[in-house]
């Protein structure tokens, strides 16, 4: 029999029992849809996460922190007592390690509470500073990136700030605008007035004799800054204000008017031997401590020459410098492993649905053979071989599986069309720019259809064999 005849006859027989075929295919559709959707979700989320990391060459990056037991999520730095301080000297040594092409020093500042623009006040999630040397690359949407020549007074903000401040779709409009960086209390870095702070404190304690130091709340400070660029708010860098590294160093400074031991001694000396109350007060002087030099950088980002070397570089840094070092790949592998497991579980559920559908196909085919026993007898009488009969029924079962797969994938595709806008909204509310992350790749479409077709073929094997081995004489007289 010709191949086209098999297809034609299988088609005709499926159409002959419209309702039964439709119900059987429906069962396959349910299985195929669930498998397709589950694989799509898992694949899309994996792709999405990988893309998020791949942006800005994150896979080449190794995060280094003072404490030794960090993961990639601690790349902003963390608290520790027994740590290796990340100093410029250490950075210089790291630059010379094999496969290291660059090191960016990173500072995270916690003393900033809000960003003020006009009468709007937005909370600051993170205020960061890092080297502009190509290790950390910002994706700019408007304006310019911070340059190594920028010393102070300029910032870049993530696009979610621009959106909130009324510049959505017009990021260029926010460039050059002045904002205030509103600090927490006790801020005494650059931009604060330590003398005034000292005087205020003295005046307050004079007015509140016997008061505890805990009751005194110094006033926060507002530091003016000009926006020079808008960066893309991604999964990792939303609600972020970036300042030049030099400025951050100043912000980190501890500026205090203190009565130094020397001043106290001088005052004591001046009073010595003088009768009565002594009017010589020790004079406070400004003491500036470079906290950054003292405590080191919050973290470092080391760039490996290739993404494939990042794991080795991380290991080398850990070993050589006794620091914590984490690469994005190890991290993402762990994250994706969860999705792999999720994929197996969800795929398993779809698989069970397909097994049930396969039982439906077997049932349908056996019913069909019982009804068509005489027909099989006639076909055998006019010259059909066993193999021909077997193939005819296998084709029919395969076709049930095939259509189930096609409709299943189509339903799955429609569901992604429905799901994408919902996900987009969700992502936008989290200020992630990605859209339509649910995508059904062609191999998934082909794979699911192939899978259901194979399931149809397997389900058809037994009934087909049964049909082929009917005794033609008995079949012809079957009532």
């Amino acid at each position: 029999m010709r191949f086209s005849d098999y297809i034609f006859i299988a088609f005709r027989n499926i159409r002959r029992q419209k309702l039964r075929s439709a119900l059987t295919i429906f069962a396959v559709v349910i299985g195929a849809t669930s498998v397709a959707i589950m694989l799509t979700v898992v694949f899309s989320v994996k792709t999405f996460i990988t893309n998020q990391f791949e942006q800005n060459g994150t896979f080449q990056q190794v995060a280094v922190a003072p404490q030794t037991d960090i993961t990639w999520n601690d790349r902003g730095g963390g608290q520790c007592s027994d740590c290796t301080i990340l100093t410029d000297a250490l950075v210089a040594k790291m630059q010379t390690r094999p496969n290291v092409v660059g090191v960016a020093r990173q500072v995270q500042l916690w003393q900033f509470e809000a960003l003020l623009y006009g009468n709007q006040k937005l909370r600051i999630q993170q205020l960061v500073a890092y080297d502009t040397n190509g290790v950390i690359v910002d994706h700019l949407l408007a304006g310019r990136d911070l340059a190594s020549t920028d010393k102070a007074g300029v910032v870049t903000v993530s696009s979610d700030y621009a959106d909130k401040l009324g510049f959505k779709g017009n990021y260029q409009g926010i460039i050059g605008k002045q904002i205030q960086l509103y600090t927490s209390q006790y801020y005494n870095g650059v931009g604060s007035d330590p003398l005034k702070a000292y005087q205020d404190q003295q005046a307050w304690f004079a007015a509140h004799p016997g008061a505890s130091g805990q009751d005194y709340h110094p006033a926060p400070v507002s530091i003016p800054a000009t926006i020079v660029g808008v960066t893309d708010a991604s999964l990792m860098s939303n609600y972020t204000v970036r300042v030049p590294l030099d400025w951050a160093r100043g912000m980190y400074e501890d500026q205090n008017y203190q009565i130094t031991p020397a001043a106290q001694q001088a005052a004591n000396a001046a009073c010595q031997g003088k009768p009565g109350p002594c009017n010589v007060q020790p004079q406070p002087s400004l003491v500036v401590t470079d906290e950054l030099a003292k405590n080191g950088y919050t973290s470092l980002i080391v760039k490996a020459d290739k993404a494939s070397d990042a794991v080795a570089v991380a290991a080398d840094l850990r070993h050589t410098f006794k620091v914590g070092a984490a690469d994005a790949q190890t991290e993402i592998k762990q994250q994706l492993a969860i999705f792999n497991v999720l994929g197996y579980v969800l795929g398993g559920i779809g698989g069970i649905a397909l097994v049930v559908a396969a039982v439906g196909v077997v049932n349908t085919m056996i019913m069909s053979i019982l009804e068509r026993t005489r027909e099989i007898g006639v076909m055998r009488a006019v010259g059909a071989r066993r193999a021909t009969i077997s193939r005819l029924f296998t084709f029919e079962a395969a076709l049930l599986g095939f259509w189930g797969g096609v409709f299943g994938v189509a339903v799955g595709y429609v569901l992604t069309l429905v799901g994408n806008p919902i996900l987009n909204k969700q992502l936008q509310s989290n200020n992630i720019g990605s859209t339509d992350i649910l995508t059904m790749p062609w191999w998934l479409v082909a794979g699911v259809v192939a899978l259901t077709t194979i399931i149809g073929i397997l389900a058809g094997l037994y009934p087909a064999r049964r049909a082929a081995h009917l005794n033609p004489v008995d079949a012809l007289h079957y009532e």
């Binding site: 010709r2 005489r374 055998r380 009488a381 010259g383 059909a384 066993r386």
Partner: protein
């Protein structure tokens, strides 16, 4: 005339529970090419079994079946299927047409298994239906045809592969006498054109139209030559 079918010491037994049933008991028979033979006998005498073995639908328990020089007794199922497809046209009492298909599609069926191209098989099927007088009923389904017409479709289907042998098992059994006669006339016409015709019947009127009447009783043959050749 040369021998087309040669049966030697054919035995066919069935087991029914503990009993062994001899459907054919040491049967030997030669049918020449172009003969019209009627096989008669009471119900259960073994006539259909004999016809099925000649037609390659069934196999003997022992003995030899030789058709056109080919020994069919021990060939594989594939060969037997090819033999049925190339040599035999079956006509059944209950027509055995595919109810959901048109007359044309029914007649085309053996040609599908013969791997003949769709265009040619359609032409041949139309010619066969025209030969049995149903040229205007190509697209009718069996349910839209009378009993006689259905049997004509069955004959057209048997003719489609240009068989050497037509085996008709009670071809008039489901028809009234007038339609029955028409069918017999058609079959005899085909026989005159050289097709060997084997008709199984228990109707003496039909048996007597054959050139040769083979009587079968409890699986054994007895024979006499018919009156009308």
């Amino acid at each position: 005339m040369a021998a087309l079918i040669e049966l030697r010491n054919l035995t066919k037994t069935y087991r029914l529970g503990d009993e062994t049933l001899h459907a054919l008991d040491n049967v030997s028979l030669v049918v020449d090419s172009g003969e019209f033979a009627a096989i008669t006998g009471p119900s259960g005498s073994g006539k259909t079994t004999l016809a099925n073995i000649i037609g390659g639908l069934d196999r003997p328990t022992s003995g030899t079946v030789i058709v056109d020089g080919n020994d069919l007794s021990h060939v594989r199922d594939n060969k037997l299927s090819t033999y049925r497809n190339k040599y035999i046209g079956f006509v059944f009492q209950s027509f055995n047409l595919q109810g959901t298909q048109t007359a044309l599609e029914n007649v085309t069926l053996p040609l599908v298994f013969a791997k003949i191209r769709p265009k040619i098989r359609k032409m041949r099927a139309i010619a066969c239906l025209e030969a049995v007088g149903l040229g205007d009923r190509l697209d009718h389904r069996p349910s839209q045809l009378s009993g006689g017409q259905r049997q004509r479709v069955a004959i057209a289907r048997a003719l489609a592969i240009e068989p050497r042998i037509i085996i008709a098992d009670e071809p008039t059994g489901n028809l009234d006498s007038q339609r029955g006669e028409e069918i017999m006339k058609l079959l005899k016409q085909l026989n005159r054109r050289g097709i060997t015709l084997i008709v199984i019947t228990h109707d003496p009127n039909i048996a007597h139209q054959a050139g040769r009447i083979i009587q079968i009783h409890d699986g054994r043959l007895s024979e006499r030559r018919g009156l009308i050749a």
